[in-house]
Symmetry: none
Subunit: 207 residues, 4 copies
């Protein structure tokens, strides 16, 4: 890769990083393109050489950040030996929660800049971009569970994800109404309950 391309890639990254920090701090609405360009140390016009508008960069961010969290969790899972489906879900839950709690900016970002509408839009807009194949990763992961005796596995996964994100959100962001450490065991307990309730009784659910 040439020196020029290196520079361009760096500049693009600077812009994305600046946008991420600003979105996390102030929310997307209160972040202007000027702000992003300033923080990235480039001229306003330069922004438009790399992105069409704020939403363009926001979609990329959502896609990247979500994809990262997800793929990190899966990679970590593949490195360990876990015996039951229940424990596997707990492992994933724990890993995601830890990622979020280790990077407060990330939580802020999700809280300030994302809702489900925007998430879907982002995934759709990036679907064919060749960036990171989020949907493929999701489907690959999900296929693992197809072989086991789980009733409505997709619903189980939906319930668990929604539950994890919503219940650890306030604890991470503002330690309210409980600290993350206080609430974690309860979250895990509910995750286990959800998994158990989806296991077909009498079946062998060892992985």
């Amino acid at each position: 890769m040439s020196k020029v391309d290196d520079k361009k890639e760096k500049k693009r990254k600077d812009l994305v990083d600046a946008a991420f920090e600003l979105f996390s701090e102030k929310g997307m609405v209160n972040t202007s393109i000027s702000d992003i360009a300033d923080k990235a140390g480039v001229a306003k016009g330069t922004f438009y050489l790399y992105f069409n508008d704020k939403y363009d960069i926001a979609n990329l961010l959502i896609y990247q950040k979500t994809g990262n969290i997800f793929s990190n969790a899966i990679r970590a899972l593949e490195k360990v030996k876990i015996l039951t489906l229940e424990d596997e879900m707990i492992f994933i839950a724990d890993n995601i929660i830890n990622q979020l709690s280790n990077d407060p900016t990330l939580v802020n970002y999700f809280s300030k800049a994302i809702d489900w509408g925007r998430f879907k839009e982002a995934v759709d807009s990036k679907r064919d971009s060749g960036e990171f194949d989020f949907l493929k990763a999701y489907n690959d992961f999900f296929r693992r569970y197809a072989e086991y005796n789980i009733k409505d596995p997709e619903i189980m996964w939906f319930l668990i994800l929604e539950f994890i994100v919503s219940s650890c959100y306030s604890p991470i962001r503002c330690n309210q109404p409980y600290s993350l450490e206080e609430i974690k065991p309860h979250i895990y307990k509910v995750v286990r309950l959800i998994v158990k309730s989806h296991l077909v009784e009498g079946a062998d659910n060892l992985i």
Copy 2:
């Protein structure tokens, strides 16, 4: 109350109602003070006689709407005879979900105009205003459970609420990834599991 005061109160209400409809339709960001004043049928300057800015009226709205949902659920609960704590929680859950799904404007409003940051801010900003005592209502409700043999009742309530809101949000808003009717039984099942896991074993949990 004098005729003048009546008029003022009506004007204030018109503004709040207009803001609610517009926020629900277009989101807060895309609603201008002009829009609100126009819809309320008053001059732009008049807005400032009643509210400081958009956020002022938004806080009031969040507070009112949330309070309403909550107190509606409790009032409904008081009119029926329910035998177990578990069933009572299900009743509340069902009531809240139904309120949301019966009033699309309300869901739109929550989806377009509220995030948790804004919610907390709103509650804080109103805490001492004496408007509608949301926190008192919450505490009153909660005290009922103090007498029963529930382990960490507040945490239980926190988990349940977070779970309900997060898991029925997308189904109501966009029927995705499941319709509300599909997901409802699963939500209730998990609510029961959470309640059960908080019951002190062997205790009498009839209400």
Copy 3:
């Protein structure tokens, strides 16, 4: 009319006048809304209280200025006693040329800001505005000639108008290649020739 309305009308007029001068000086393309507002002595935002954009004010201008020239010529015609159709056309031609040559700004304006496409657009956009009924005036005027023995009277009128405007344009604007006074008799001679060639031979063309 109230004091406020007076002020508004004055402000609107100031904006129109400023736009007219600037369009005439620099052409529409090189005139920004900032320029217009500055010259009119109002804030930029004020412009948008009166007009949607540059084209809005430009349409109004074209319509007004063209309408004025035309109706001035007709009013003048009505005050004099002219015997032949030929002389009447000469009178109109002379009157229009004099209006243009007496107001250099006007000529500049037509040269810098109008082409036929824009003219038609302007007339269309104002057709139902109730401003000045240019088309009606035109038709009324034209109907006068319907009774006389003129072959293709509309074409005659078209040829004469195009000829007048085009041939006195450069002389008025830059005295090139001839001064207006030099070229005038030639223009009138051609106008007479055109009229004559449209008279049905042997007919009585006294008015």
Copy 4:
């Protein structure tokens, strides 16, 4: 001419051609230097190696295109045998009108990118450039008529040219208010009238 010079000349031509097409399509105002460079297949910076700005290339274009029309008409005239001055003028008029109506791009170009102010500016800016000697050609052509018994021949020519261009412009561009075919005979008739009125009576006007 060296290979390098060939290449340079080709590049210059590509830029001019690209500009011509774009100006004709979208008008000068809506054509950016980027557009021109893109269409010509060169880098934006390259544009500045050949031209100073948009107006530079526009002037060249006006000069070239106008010169072409004019010299085409003269070349065609030289190939035919015409008996009277009157017929010769009609021949020129017809030839110019046909050139314009046969090349819609050309008409678009004149309509979108030129006004008389720009034309004069263009001719002035090129007068000493040695490109194509438009004025010389004009004068040479004109000298032919000096020998005949024409009163004010230059004025005649001015009147005829202005008349032709102005009266066939709208018909060609938008078939309004008449089609070109409808208006042509009337245009020719007036041209004849103008020529006739400039002939010194009793003189021999055969060419």
